[in-house]
């Protein structure tokens, strides 16, 4: 027992150091976001315990974000965009996967390969020609412009297909024998069994959307449609000296994914494990 503890002590020390590298900046941001601005500047240098520990706590930064900087609207936009992306993405992805698993048609495997190919295409490569297309559709500076181009997602199709392949085919067969339409089989038989993969896919889509920056930056111009990552970027340019508010904005942008991921961590990892190893 003691021997094993001694041999694993260096591992613990390395782990502790790494944990601090990840967590300390976040802790510093969290604490600083509750301090008055002048206090942050006053104690920054030279370093004392007061640099890291507040003598006074205040909601000032958060209040100002919501009253002065329009962060309420920004958060609402981001939630709306994320929620729509999840609903639309799940529907399109699961339906396509359903067709790939249960229907026979010519060119199926070639088409599926194409779907896989699309999820290897990084968004940055297509963002500029995509702008021209979305502009022609008249969707610049609309919610549709942010949401619709990302709805069809090869990764989601892939995740659902993996899951459908593991469902017993007899379930579908017997439902069809009973005269259920394909729509009914999809909605009443197959999808209710898909809770784990639905949660995984929803999380992947929502977090991807929450953290997306380049496309919303390109597709929107006005404050009305601003999402959180674009708001953060603008904040650095416009109010770069309001450190307490910057820390507060960063905390807001981290806290939502954290709240979702803490209880649902294993679903996210499941989704990731499926993409990484089975491909």
């Amino acid at each position: 027992m003691i021997r094993s503890l001694r041999s694993s002590l260096p591992v613990y020390i390395i782990h502790l150091a790494l944990a601090l590298i990840v967590l300390l900046p976040l802790a510093f941001a969290l604490v600083s976001s509750f301090r008055p601005l002048d206090e942050i500047y006053k104690y920054m240098s030279p370093v004392t315990w007061k640099t890291f520990w507040p003598s006074e706590l205040t909601w000032e930064a958060y209040q100002s974000l919501f009253t002065e900087r329009g962060f309420g609207r920004t958060l609402l936009n981001t939630f709306f965009v994320g929620f729509s992306a999840v609903v639309g993405g799940l529907l399109l992805g699961s339906m396509a996967a359903f067709a790939f698993v249960y229907f026979e048609f010519r060119g199926k495997s070639a088409l599926f390969l194409l779907v896989l190919l699309t999820f290897m295409i990084p968004f940055e490569v297509i963002s500029i020609p995509l702008y021209s297309l979305v502009n022609q559709l008249g969707w610049i500076d609309t919610y549709a412009g942010i949401i619709v181009p990302g709805l069809a997602n090869g990764l989601v199709v892939f995740l659902f297909r993996q899951f459908f392949l593991e469902l017993p085919y007899s379930l579908i067969e017997s439902a069809r024998m009973d005269g259920a339409s394909w729509g009914r089989v999809y909605a009443r038989v197959v999808m209710p069994l898909c809770k784990p993969v639905t949660v995984s896919a929803s999380l992947l889509i929502f977090i991807q959307q929450w953290e997306s920056f380049m496309w919303p930056l390109i597709a929107t111009r006005s404050k009305e449609y601003k999402v959180i990552q674009v708001a953060l970027s603008d904040f650095i340019t416009e109010y770069g000296t309001y450190w307490n508010e910057m820390f507060a904005a960063a905390i807001l942008s981290v806290i939502i994914p954290v709240v979702l991921l803490i209880p649902l961590q294993r679903y996210y990892v499941q989704g990731i494990a499926n993409t990484g190893s089975k491909e």
Partner: protein, 288 residues
């Protein structure tokens, strides 16, 4: 008969997703390649075919060559760095020690941190005048550093920030792979007297080929196309030292309204990325 009856449901289920993928993923790639052969007239907004003129102009432009140099330098450093760190982290997170689940959760946190958020935090902490990192350096009697404000340190600072956010995320994929290496294999080999290092080379590495290939390729594409830290933190400066091709392409399109130039840069960047990925595939296959 059967196929006729199936056609309705088939189209209903498949068409929405396929339309989306074709329209918003595949068509823009083709269109981008096409755009790189055209130039948009400033006055009329009409387009005229110019062949490879956009590329020829690029190859005569020192700004492009500098951008290419910065992109290659950035990637030659950051890609191996992130792969090695992610692999080491995954090995550490796979250690059979008590409370390992806590440490795993901690390194899960970067998933929740977006690149712009990471930029925002480190932008404040690395501030040349009053940043906390400089205060800490000063407390240890070390000279204060300009970080993002200097042409020699900006790229390095961005590499550090991107890796702070990225390594934990990539390690997740490798950890999932490591957990599929059978424990019995490891035990048998250590009974046979194989040391840690030999286990790593002869058992873990071959079994990890698939997730390793996946993250090597993903890391490479992500970094070749990385845009937001440069856009948010440095706008390509100081003195163009962080002006990667992706940013130059973005600026060509949205700052100078030169879609032809912008598309040509993206096509070149895509070629570079594909070449890098092809070399990696070959190398990862051959090394075993």
């Amino acid at each position: 008969m059967r196929s006729k009856k199936m056609l309705g449901p088939l189209l209903l289920f498949l068409l929405p997703a396929l339309t989306g993928l074709f329209l918003f993923k595949l068509y823009p790639i083709g269109n981008g390649i096409l755009q790189s052969l055209y130039t948009t007239s400033f006055l009329t907004g009409g387009q005229s075919f110019v062949g490879f003129q956009n590329y020829i102009t690029l190859f005569q432009d020192p700004v492009f060559w500098n951008s290419l140099k910065v992109t290659l330098l950035f990637n030659i450093i950051i890609n191996p760095l992130q792969v090695v760190l992610a692999f080491l982290l995954a090995l550490l997170l796979n250690a059979r020690i008590k409370r390992i689940a806590w440490f795993r959760s901690i390194h899960f946190v970067p998933v929740a941190i977006s690149v712009p958020t990471a930029c925002m935090l480190w932008n404040i902490m690395l501030s040349p005048e009053q940043g906390v990192v400089n205060s800490i350096l000063a407390a240890f009697g070390l000279p204060e550093q300009p970080f993002l404000g200097s042409s020699t340190q900006a790229l390095g600072s961005i590499i550090a920030i991107a890796s702070w956010k990225g390594v934990g995320y990539w390690a997740l994929f490798l950890l999932a792979g490591l957990q599929e290496v059978p424990a019995s294999l490891m035990e048998a080999s250590s009974l046979d007297g194989a040391g840690r290092w030999r286990q790593l080379i002869h058992i873990i590495y071959p079994m990890m080929k698939r997730p390793l290939t996946f993250i090597v390729v993903s890391i490479t594409t992500a970094n070749f196309l990385l845009f937001s830290p440069m856009y948010i933190l440095t706008k390509g400066g100081p003195e163009n030292s962080t002006n990667v091709l992706m940013l130059e392409s973005f600026n060509s399109a949205f700052l100078y309204s030169d879609l032809g130039r912008s598309s040509a840069i993206v096509v070149i960047l895509l070629m570079l990325t594909l070449t890098a990925v092809a070399v990696q595939f070959k190398w990862l296959k051959a090394s075993h």
